[in-house]
Each structure stands twice: as structure tokens, then as C-alpha cells.
Amino acid sequence: MKNKGLNKVDLIFEKVDLKEVLTKAYKMSSGEIIQQVLESGLKGRGGAGFPTGLKWKYTAAEKEPEKYIVCNADEGEPGTFKDREILDRVSYKVYAGMAIAGKAIGASQGIVYLRGEYRFLLPQLMKELESFHKISDEIGYKFKIRYCLGSGAYICGEESALFESIQGDRGEPRNKPPYPTTSGVFYKPTSINNVETLVTVMMIIKHGAEAYVQLGTKDSRGSKVFSVSGDTPTPGIFELELGMSVLQFVNEFGDGDTKAVQVGGASGFCVPRKKFSETVIGFEGVPTGGSMKLFNSSRSMYNVLHNYLDFFAEESCGQCTPCRIGCQQLLKGVEKVKKGEAKSTYLNELVKLADTMKIASKCGLGQSVGNAFRTIVENFKEEIIY
């Protein structure tokens, strides 16, 4: 299958006339907004990739008068830093996306949950929020946004843990169902969307769904902001059309000696050199919230895996056993194999444990530890053992 190659796009950071787009959305009905977003094929940009239009459709259908829009700015996935950049440079577009979402689902309140690590941005963001409220009030929106801060817990990026945190509790994920669309923050119908998703929605309203679907592929419409780091001469933030292969990505960003790319952060997938050309970055291949880490041949993939497992062992909320114990045992297990205290075949047992965690863990954290574990162990077995 021929793909589109690597194309740079400028939608997210493009300067737009806020008043013009907000006025356009204000004149649209809830149904019309949702229809546009559905037709755009937009999937959530935080990593999980749930269709945004569907999320809004479900929340809009709830009869409860008190509903919420929550902006998930708890960007904690290792290797992701695009949401900070978006908030820093174009926060008014995030606010606009929230107001448009509010109109679509019938919510008058929005909450931005900002990770504690980004608190230094808050004074500037509050000032920009004030200017935004002035403009949205003038147009006639009855939508107010406020900020809640995190305090250093990766798990709070999980939507139901994030709600618990806003409510002043430990950030422990809830059982699902019920889903946020029926019972979210304060147990009210909630649409929770990633920072980038909200900005994308604003741009879909501005340009129309028809224009947006020209970008990307059938399964991965549009463009996406990538956070590029690791062994690359050009680390940073790049907005690219979806549908490129890892090889095309590496040709642009690699240092000529790339042996693996970790797509989607610690909870994502490791793609080794031999699979660069066949692997598409997107929902038809390896999905990503934007984290792209390049490793060259000087790096030990054991160190990479160990670092990720150490991360998960610390960040697991500890609520469910498969994740709490699983993360610790995977970490201890690879250490044992490395030291020669366990046979190399023990790795197969560990992969089985990671698979069990995928099935038995309560939330996305425990469920996705196995992604990096399996793909690193399978592709770089000798580096783990010797």
C-alpha cells in the first residue's frame, strides 16, 4: 500500500481569528457541530484514540442538565511535551475548543486539569483565560472555564483517576462502566478531551470537515503534533500529516544510526530497524499520543526497558494487584535475567505475566505495560540477557 509520506502541516499552531471561529460555532446547532466532528473522523489525540464526535454524541444525549467539559492537560507520558507547547503558544485555541465542545454537549462549565509539573505556566494561562472569557461572553457563550492542578501523579492522566483528583481524592481509576459520558467528574456526564483534540476541533470548525479529511488516511484522519526526542539532531515539536511509515519518520529525524523507535512513550511500542518500512504511524499501525523517541546503536535497550519498568513500578496507583505486583515483578525479573540469576527462558514467563496484566489490570496503565515490555524483549532479547 502506498502511503503519503512525511508532510509538515501547520494547523495547531496557526494563528486564527478567535472571534470569527467562535461566532461561526455559536451559530451552529449542537447537532451540526457534532456532525462536523464525526465527519472529520477525528480520534482523540491523547493516545487512546476514541472518536471525538462519538464521545460528544453520547454526552449530548444525556438528560442530566449539569454536564462538564474537562480538558486533560495531565501530559505525563514519557517523551510527550506537545500539550505544554500548545498551551504555552495557543491556549486561546484550547479554550475555544472547550467552549465549542460545551455548546455541542450542552455544558456550561469547563475544567482544565493541568499537571503540577507545568504550574509555572499558570499565571500566563489565567491571564489568557480572562481575555478569552471576555470575547466568549461578548458573543453570547455561557461557558466558564477554571483550572485544577495535579501534583505529580502519572496515573491522573487516566480519565477517571483525573476526575477523582479534581474531586479532592486519591487519583485511583474507577471501574468502567459507567463511562465518563454518563458519570464523569462529580459523577455528572462529562466529555474529557486532550488539549490537542480540542484545538483540532476548533480548526475543523474553521476549515470544515471536508477540508480536514483531505489529510491523513482512512483510519487516521488529519495531522498530529509529534514530540520528537532521543538520538536525533532535531529534537522538538513537529506537526505532521498522519499516515507516514516509521522509516520515513526516521529518514527525517534520525541521526543515521537509529536502531529503534519507541512510539507512544513508555506505554507504547518499540519498533526495531527491520520493521521501520512496514510500520505505519497511526491507528492502522502503531498509535501514539505523540511521543517519538529515537535510539541509536550506542544505546542499551536493557537500560531503556529498565527505565520504563522503574517508571511504571513507581507510577502504578497500587489499587489492583496485577498492575501493582506485576510492575514490580517485571522489573525484578529483567534484573535477575541480566545478572544471570535467572535463565534466559525466564523472559518467556515474564512476557506471560505482562499478557496477564493486559487482561486483568483495571485501567490503561497496567494494561499497556506489556506493550513496551513485549516489543523490547522480543526484538532485543540478546541485549536483555547479555
Partner: protein, 154 residues
């Protein structure tokens, strides 16, 4: 000196006394003192009319709501993969050398604490640290010495 009684009252006035005020109140105390004492958590519990165990339960979940005594400036060094690849160890060694403390410790004058933290979102400008809330990026041992000297003179 840790005298948070007044601060707890002031923060409760500002954020309200409902359960959802708990995080902003604790964050407000940490913003000023960098950590939470048992006494201050009891004070918050009284103010919000909830059990002290509830306050401790919430606080102890979040790494930034520290319940260990910390100095005036908390240095958090990112230890996640990119920072670790790009020289995090040199940064830690330099700070340990300069302040004569190990990771997890606080200087005897209670000015600096040194801890390691998970990804703080500056991978493209690694290695990175936070001092209280302020990020410093693309560090070298020389750069970090200058930065800490600046804090010493504050």
C-alpha cells in the same frame, strides 16, 4: 519556620471548605513550605471537617504533596529515559558534590533538597530539572552550578 495555622484559614477562605477544595489547599501549603507536616494535615482536616486520615490519604498519593520534610528549594532531577540518556547522572553527581548531600537528602541549613522525579516533559531539551516550580533545561554540570549559586544568593 513552619507556621501554617493562618495559611490554612486563608486558603480555606479562598478555595472553600468542600472536599474538592482539599487539593488546592494542600497545594497552597506546599507552594509556601514545600512539604506537609502531620500538624498541618490535622489543621486542614479540622477546617474541612473531614478525618485527618482522609487528608493524609490524599496527600500521600501525590509525589508533589510531600509529607517528608524538605528544604526551601526542592531540586527535582528528571530520571526518565531521555534525560537519563543525555547526562542526568552528571547533573546529579554535580549537585551532590556541590551541596554535599545525596539524592533524597536535605542540606543541614534546610535550603536545598535533592530528589529524582519522573518525566517532567522537557525530553527535547534534556537533561532537565525543576527547582520548586521553575524548569531548567539543556543542562550541563557548569550550567547547573551557576543556577544553584543563584539560589544560594537569594
Amino acid at each position: 519556620m513552619y507556621q501554617a495555622g493562618n495559611l490554612v484559614k486563608k486558603l480555606s477562605e479562598k478555595h472553600g471548605r468542600s472536599r474538592q477544595s482539599l487539593m488546592p489547599i494542600l497545594q497552597g501549603i506546599v507552594e509556601k513550605y514545600n512539604y506537609l507536616t502531620d500538624d498541618v494535615m490535622v489543621e486542614v482536616a479540622k477546617e474541612l471537617d473531614i478525618s485527618a486520615a482522609e487528608v493524609y490519604g490524599t496527600a500521600s498519593f501525590y509525589t508533589f504533596l510531600d509529607t517528608n520534610a524538605r528544604g526551601k528549594y526542592v531540586i527535582r532531577v528528571c530520571k526518565t529515559i531521555t534525560c537519563s540518556m543525555k547526562g542526568k547522572k552528571d547533573i546529579v553527581d554535580t549537585i551532590e558534590d556541590m551541596l554535599k548531600i545525596k539524592v533524597g537528602e536535605t542540606t543541614s541549613d534546610k535550603q536545598f533538597s535533592l530528589i529524582e522525579t519522573n518525566c517532567i516533559g522537557w525530553c527535547h531539551k534534556a537533561p532537565a530539572i525543576l527547582i520548586n516550580e521553575i524548569p531548567y533545561t539543556e543542562l550541563t554540570p557548569e550550567k547547573v552550578v551557576e543556577i544553584i549559586k543563584g539560589y544560594m544568593q537569594k
